[in-house]
């Protein structure tokens, strides 16, 4: 018997074997392999890594590192702030936030916390530092300019003025 048919039948048999092993071994093996790759979800979606947390009594503000979009990405640079937990927030929040950690407040963020978790949120951001843009009654406009509730946190993304 020639080599090529032997290789062909071996490959065909291996294909059937791979099919049998797929749900029990291979799928999980490949999935774990992909998960182990040094990849991260784009920060425009995830909000970027956490930089520090500011305690505000019963609740805290998590400040993320500024996110700078890639190449032709349509979003603007922004910084994400998380107010958490929602259950500890007062009905009306108005906080001065020192984003860069230099001891001076950079923005004043004001929003109401409705009891209904599905109620739309609106936020006002008053920049105290020219690096940040103002937001007036902003809702869910775009990834770089929004206020949304995600699980037990209220996220505010403030666009940067000078990319």
């Amino acid at each position: 018997m020639k080599l090529r048919p032997i290789l062909g039948y071996t490959a065909a048999g291996a294909t059937v074997l791979v099919a049998m092993l797929t749900p029990f071994v291979l799928m999980g093996y490949f999935a774990n392999g992909v998960a182990a790759l040094p990849l991260q979800v784009d920060e425009v979606y995830s909000g970027g890594p956490k930089a520090r947390t500011v305690q505000m009594g019963a609740y805290s503000i998590v400040i993320h590192r500024p996110v700078r979009p890639h190449f032709l990405q349509s979003e603007k640079p922004f910084v994400q702030l998380d107010w958490t937990p929602v259950s500890a927030l007062p009905q009306h929040v108005s906080d001065m936030v020192d984003i860069d950690g230099n001891g001076q407040p950079d923005i004043r963020v004001t929003f109401d916390v409705p009891k209904d978790p599905k109620a739309p949120l609106r936020v006002d951001v008053e920049p105290l530092n020219p690096r940040y843009q103002a937001m007036n009654s902003a809702g869910k406009e775009r990834f770089s300019r929004l206020i949304v509730r995600v699980d037990n946190a209220i996220l505010v993304r403030v666009p940067l003025a000078n990319p």
Partner: protein, 386 residues
């Protein structure tokens, strides 16, 4: 290359005996039980009924393939069922979870966008160059995560190659079902240059996704957003995107398949299909045309739902690389010149053995993936009617 060997006389194969067909079907029946009654599946009565229906369905279809020697029509019943039942189960679950088919921004930020296989080719370059996945999902997750879906795709692709488009894709069944409705095609002459459409869309989408750093196909061109989920329209751009989804679905998945009896979205447009064609090169299985038997009458070319046969390729004794291994051409050939084939062997050398080996592998994957989708759809329907 096909070679001519001593051939038996040209007759349609006799149907297999019932006992022999049952014996050949037994492994698939056991496999179906393993897949659909495995630990982790729901154990309530409706789910058990759905699993039983799906097991019987998948087993009977395989039995009919064994009994009749025909592949395409039985596979088509499975594939159309997946295409129809996928939206039923999927839409029900996302509406139950979030109350709408639209993906709100907060769900994308939370990484809860279900990942489908379509954007895989568009993720590769940004991931390779910047270690970033341009998809608002979660990498490792038990449900609809990126890593589990990519893992499943890798495993299925090793087995099926481009056969993914006939045994695994949960979108193609809709247009295959629509294409099956009319008795005859109203549009018969299709410019063969349309075959390059998927490659053009693939190239454009890969480059655009890299430049815009978003899965451009999902954001702008996927016809199946119309029957799965879409970005919630927050502004005019969102409305335009959703309008494009609906128009493409109506044109490529409903109207053109009805008029041409072809899978036009797959043949002219789908970038994932073009990407998957590359993996036909590593598949052990293919379709060959025995030039010694071929007239050529072109019945195979007319039967191909994917424009994967041309006069030139028939003359060479092979299909084009976009062949989905659906079996339509094999079943259509009155001279049994079109055969299932294992690479490296002689053309027409034990084609039934090649068919059986491919079908065992492909149907195992079909039960595992498509069978689970059918199960989900049936369970949803049972939920509503009982």
């Amino acid at each position: 290359m096909a070679t001519n060997i001593q051939l038996p006389r040209l007759t349609r194969p006799e149907p297999r005996g019932i006992g022999w067909s049952l014996l050949l079907t037994l492994p698939i029946f056991i496999w179906s039980l393993l897949m659909l009654f495995r630990p982790g599946m729901d154990t309530d009565l409706k789910s058990r009924i759905a699993a039983t229906i799906t097991t019987i369905f998948m087993t009977v279809l395989f039995f009919m393939m064994m009994r009749t020697g025909s592949t395409y029509r039985w596979r088509r019943i499975f594939f159309v069922s997946v295409g129809v039942l996928f939206p039923v189960g999927f839409i029900y679950n996302i509406v139950l979870a979030r109350g709408t088919m639209g993906i709100p921004l907060e769900e994308m930020i939370a990484g809860r966008t279900p990942f489908c296989f379509m954007p895989i080719p568009m993720l590769i370059l940004p991931a390779a160059l910047t270690k970033t996945l341009i998809f608002p999902g979660t990498i490792a997750s038990t449900n609809h995560g990126i890593a589990p879906m990519v893992g499943m795709w890798l495993a299925l692709t090793l087995v099926l190659g481009k056969g993914w488009c006939s045994y695994a894709c949960f979108f193609g069944g809709i247009e295959e079902g629509v294409a099956a409705i009319p008795a005859r095609a109203r549009i018969r002459k299709l410019d063969p240059r349309w075959r390059y459409g998927p490659w053009a869309v693939l190239l454009a989408m890969v480059l655009l996704s890299l430049a815009l750093f978003e899965p451009a196909y999902c954001m702008w061109l996927c016809p199946f957003k119309a029957v799965s989920e879409y970005v919630t329209a927050r502004n005019t751009i969102g409305l335009v995107q959703n309008g494009i989804f609906v128009l493409l679905f109506a044109g490529l998945v409903i109207a053109l398949p009805f008029l041409t009896k072809k899978r036009t979205q797959c043949s002219f447009f789908c970038p994932f299909g073009a990407f998957q064609s590359i993996f036909n090169k590593i598949s052990a299985f293919e379709i060959k045309i025995d030039k010694g038997r071929c007239k050529p009458c072109l019945l195979c070319q007319n039967a191909c739902p994917n424009l994967s046969l041309s006069k030139e390729s028939i003359a060479r004794g092979e299909t084009l690389m976009s062949c989905m291994k659906c079996g339509a051409c094999v079943d259509a050939c009155p001279r049994q010149a079109v055969v299932w084939h294992i690479k490296g062997t002689e053309a027409a050398c034990k084609p039934e053995r090649a068919r059986l080996m491919f079908l065992y592998a492909a149907w195992a994957m079909a039960v595992m993936f498509g069978g689970t989708i059918i199960y989900g759809g049936v369970a949803t329907i049972l939920h509503f009617i009982a």
